[in-house]
Amino acid sequence: MAIRVFLVLVLFLSSAIVSFSLYEDQAGLADWHQRYIGKVKHAVFHTQKTGRKRVIVSTEENVVASLDLRHGEIFWRHVLGTKDAIDGVGIALGKYVITLSSEGSTLRAWNLPDGQMVWETALHSAHHSKSLLSVPINLKVDKDYPITVFGGGYLHAVSALDGEVLWEKDFTAEGFEVQRVLQPLGSTVIYVLGFVNLSEAVVYQIDSKIGEVVAQKSMVFPGGFSGEISSVSSDKVVVLDSKKSILVTIGFIDGDISFQKTPVSDLVENSGNAEILSPLLSNMLAVKVNKRTIFVKVGGEGKLEVVDSLSDETAMSDSLPVADDQEAFASVHHEGSKIHLMVKLVNELDNVLLRETIQMDQHRGRVHKVFMNNYVRTDRSNGFRALIVMEDHSLLLLQQGAIVWSREEGLASVTDVTTAELPVEKDGVSVAKVEHTLFEWLKGHVLKLKGSLLLASPEDVVAIQELRVKSSGKNKLTRDHNGFRKLILALTRAGKLFALHTGDGRIVWSMLLKSQACERPNGISLYQWQVPHHHAMDKNPSVLVVGRCGSDSSAPGVLSFVDVYTGKEITSSDIGHSVVQVLPLPFTDSTEQRLHLIADTVGHVHLYPKTSEALSIFQREFQNIYWYTVGADDGIIRGHVMKSSCSGETADEYCFTTRELWTVVFPSESEKIISTLTRKPNEVVHTQAKVNTDQDLLYKYVSRNLLFVATVSPKGAGEIGSVTPEESSLVVYLIDTITGRILHRLSHQGCQGPVHAVFSENWVVYHYFNLRAHKYEVTVVEIYDQSRAENKNVWKLILGKHNLTAPITSYSRPEVFTKSQSYFFAQSVKTIAVTSTAKGITSKQLLIGTIGDQILALDKRFVDPRRTLNPSQAEKEEGIIPLTDSLPIIPQSYVTHSHRVEGLKGIVTAPSKLESTTHVFAYGVDLFYTRLAPSKTYDSLTDDFSYALLLITIVALVAAIYITWALSEKKELSEKWR
C-alpha cells in the first residue's frame, strides 16, 4: 500500500518539471564544503612586514595558496590545471608571488594580499627538462632585479614588475642544463652554473641587464655527474659523480672552475651509494649514506669534513639567516609517539637554539618536510616556527612546543569513497547532548513561526539560521531514523582512511595504512567487508582497504580490515601477491563477511577471507563465478572462469587458476579502448517493467553483467581538435561479461573522446565530443528485453503461462533491442554520476561534474530516448519532454550552488533510508557533500516545517470548538427559556 502511495506520488511529482533548487537561506543546512590544497611541495614565508603573517605554498595538486600563519586558513588559493605542475614559488618585490609551472614554460605573478593575477608570461620551451626559478632576494622594493628562469633549454630573464621578458638565452644547441643561478648582491653579473651532458661543468657570467655573456668557463669532469647538486655558498656547489660515490666540490670564484674530489668512503666507512639531501645549508650539506644522514662541512678550499651524523630518518629545513651572520636550520625526528624539533646553528651544531618535544598523532606517520621561519619574540630573542608536512600529507604549524594548527591535506587526493552506517543509539545512552529543554524547543518554534510570518527582526533571522544549522541533531554520532547521518569513508592517496560525518563533515576518525613489507603503502581502493544485517548483529561493520607497496601494479598488495565504528584496524596483512583487480562476490559467510576475489598479475585469483567456511561457499558456486579483464593497452577484453585450485604450483588452497572463456579483440589500427564502465553492484532497481503511454509494456534488460566499452580511433585518442572528423570515430559497445556477447554496438563517425559515462539500471548515458558539429554531445542508450515482451496478456499472467519466474541464464541468446538518442550539451564534463535511492523508486537525476568544478543535476527525463518533437497529449501527461537538440543547463539546478569543488575528480551517491533522498559526495581538491531529493521530499516534512504553527492552529481550533459549543449551549438554553 505504502509503495502504491509512493508510486502515485512519484507519478504526480514527475509530471511537473522539477527543477531542483534551494532558497538562499537553505544553503549550508544539509550541505558542507571543505577547501583543501594538497600535499605541500614548497613553502615561502612572508612575515617581514607587520600585519597578516602568511605562508605561500605550492602543492602536488597544482595549487598555489596563501595561508594564514595564525590559524591555517586559506587567504586565497588558485588551482592550476592538472597538467600545469608547479616547479617553483618565490616572492618578488615583496608584493608578488611568482610561480613557475608546466616545466618552466609558464611564469605567473599573483598579488600577495588578495591573490589576483598580476601578469602571466609564456616562455619558450624546446623540450622537457628540469626547470629552475630564481627570484632575487632584494629588500629594496624599488629596484627591479630580473627573475631568472630556466626551462626547456632556454634561460630567461623576466622583469618582476610586468612580466616582460628582458632577454633570453638559447642553450638548446649546446645541451646546457642550468643547475644553479647565483646572483651576488649588488652586482649586475649573474653566475649561471650548469652541466653539458652531465660531464662538463660550465659557468657563464651574464650581465643581468642585457643578457650578454661576459665570460664563460668550462671544464670537463671525466667521471660525469649524477645531477644531484647542493649549493653550499655563493661560490661553491657540491655534486655527486655518476657512480654516486664521490662528492665533487665545484668552486667558481671569479669564473675559474675548480674541482675538488672527495670519495664518500673517506667520510664514512663502508659507504654505499650516497644521496644529497635537498636542504640548502650554508657551507654545509646533508648527505644520506647507509641510511644515515651525515652533515658535511665544506671548508674554505672545498675540503669536506663530517661534523655530525644522525641515525634515524630526520627531516630538515633549509638554513635561514638569524642574527649576527649566523645561519640556523631546523631538524625533526621521531621518537615513539613524540617528535623532536631542534633548531641548530649551522656553524656550531652543538649550539641548539631551540629544542621542543611535541606529542604527535601516530596516524600521521613520519615527517616528510620541514619549512622553518624565524620571528622576534616579545623579549627580543629569536623565535622559530616550523611548518611540517607529514607522511599522510597533513600540514602542521609548530610553534612554542605546540601544534598551532593542522590541516588534513590528505583529503585533497581522495582515491576511493564508500559510506557506512553509524552505530545504533543504545537506550539510555545519549551520545551527544543535543536535545533541548521543552522551553528552548518551543522558543525555537516560535522563532521559526515568526520567520514564516515575516515578523522576524534581523537578529531573529540570524538566530533562526543558527537554530536550523544546529537543529535535528544532525551531528550526532548515532544512526537516525531517516538515514541522514552516515559516515563517509574516504581513502587518500597517502594511504590514510578518513571517516567524515555527513552532518558537518568533521573527521570522526582516521587511520593510516601500515605494512610490514614496505614503508609507505599507497591506498588503492575500499570495499565493504562486513555489514551485519541479519546475522552477527553484535559485530561492528568493517571495511576492506586495499593498498599496494609502490606504484607498480606488480608490487605486493596490503590488506587492512578496519572497524567502521571505532576506526581501529582489526587486522592487516601483507598478502604477498600483487593486486590487479578486486572482485566482491555476491556471497557472505555466517558472520556476514563478504567474499572477495583478488586477481594478481600472474593470472591467479585469491579468495578472501581465508576461512574454510568461505572456501566451502566458494566451492559451491565455483561453476558460476566469472570475471573479465580489460587490456586497455592491447585492446583485448578477456572473460575468465575459475578452473581449479592452484595446488600444483603453491600449497595455498585459497588460490585458484582461471581459464579464458572469451575474447573481444579490437583491431589495433582502428580502435583503442578509452573507457569502460559497469553498473554499481549494489544498485537497486525497483521495477523491471516500463509502461508506455499506449499502455504497452517494455521490460528493462537489467543485468549485472553488462560492460560498457567506448573505443576511439587511435588517432583520435589525443586532444580534442587534434584530428579531422574523417579521421576519428567513436564506437560504443555493451558487452555481456559472462559470454562475451556484444549486445549493442554503435559507431559515432567524426566523434572523439574523452568519454564520460554513467551506467544505471538498463541505460547508459555518455558524453563525448562531436567534431563535425564542434560541440559536446550526450547520448543515451536504453536496452530492453524482448524475450519477456509476450507477458503482456493478463490472462497469461493469471494462468501462470509466463516466463517471468524462469531463471535467466546468460547462455540463452538474448533478445534485446536498444533505443538511443543524442543531444548536444554545452559544457565539458569531468565526471558523471547518478543519484541512487533506497528502493530505486524515486526518479533519477544525472549529476554532471562540469569543467567549472560544479555539479549540475539533470533530470533523467531529459535524456529519455522516447522524447519526440511533438509529444502527444498522453505522452505529455506521462512527463515526456518535447525533444530539443540540446540539453538545458538550468542555473538553479547546480547542486553545489555557490561553491566550487576545485579539481573535481569523482561524485559518489549513496541512498539514505528515506526513499526520496540520496547522499551526494563530491571529491577533488575540495570536498562537498549534500543531500538531494530528485523528486522533492514527498515522504517527509521539511526541516523548517512549523510544528508550532500546527500546534497553535490545533489549540486554536479546539478552543474555538469549545467556545462555540459553550456559546451554542448558552444560546440553546436561552432559546428554551424563551
Binding site: Q623, D634, I636, V641, K643, R659, E660, L661, W662, T663, V664, V665, F666, P667, S668, S670, E671, E726, V731, I735, T739, G740, R741, I742, R745, L746, S747, H748, Q749, N770, A773, E777, T779, S787, A806, P807, I808, T809, Y811, S812, R813, S820, S822, Y823, F824, L869, N870, L883, T884, D885
Partner: protein, 293 residues
Amino acid sequence: MAKLTLVFFLSFLIFSSSIAFQSDELLVDDDEFGLEGAKPRSTDLYTSSSSSSPQQQQQSPTIRRRYSDPTDLDSKVQFTLEHAFGDSDFSPAGTFSARLKTWSHGGKTLTKLRFSRNNFSAEEKDAFKNLLKGDDFYRIRLPSNVVSPPGREFVVASVRARCLPRDGLDEHFIIHMEGANILAVSYGSPGACQYPRQFKLPAKWSFNSHTILKSSEQAPRTPIFTEEILGSENAEGEVEPPPERSFWAKYWMYLIPLGLVVMNAVTQASNMAEEPTGGQAGGAQVQQPARRR
C-alpha cells in the same frame, strides 16, 4: 605467392586510401557511401565503386600494374573455425568462406559467408560427451583478421556444452566485423538455454549452424532543430487552435458545484419562506412530548 600479392595489394589499398583523401572527387564519393552505410548491400553499388577506382589509380603507375589482377578486387577468403573441449587444445572444426569486397575508400566487407562444418570424429564425440557430463565448456575460436589469419589474436567464445544439444547440435554464430577484422563472436544455441541445464545427448551428431555477420551501426546524427522548431511552430500555429470545446466541456467542474449551490440556496429560500409555520409546528411537536412528560 598469391597470398603475398594479396597482402601487398591490401596494404597498398590502405595506403592509397590515406593518400586518396587528398582527392576531392574521392572525398565526395567517400562521404556519400559512408553515409549510406559502411557496406552497401547491392553489388551494383559495388561495381560502380570499383569502376571508379581505376581512375583514382591513374595517379601512380606502380599501383596500376598491381591493379591489373582482377581477382584481387573481389577476393575470396577462407578462415577456419577451431574448437576445443574443456581445456584441450584447439583443433580445426570447420571453414568459413566468404567474398571480401574492397571499397574504393579502402573499406572492406565480407559478404556471401558460407560455412562448412566438419562432423565430429569418434574421439571428438567422446570428448563432447565428457563435456556434457561435466557441464563443461565447449570453446571455439576464429582468427581476428580474416585476410591474414590469425591476425593479432584469436577471438574466443565458449558455451556450456549442455546448451547445444536439441535434436541435433544447434549452434548460432554472430560474428561482429570491423572491416576485415573480427571483433568478437557470440556463440551459443539459437534459442534459450534452459537452466538448470539437463544432461541430454543429441539424437543426431550433426551440426545445424546459423551464422550472422554484423557490422557496426551508425549512430544517427543529432538532429538540429533551429529550423525545424520554426517550422514546427508554424505547423503548431496551424494545428494549435484545438477543436473549440463547448462551454459545458470546459467549465463543467465549476458549473456543477455552482448548480448545487444554487439549488441549495433555492431550497433554503423556499424553506425559509415556510419556516415560520414549519418552525412553529416543529416547536409544537417538540413541546408536546415535553408537556406529556
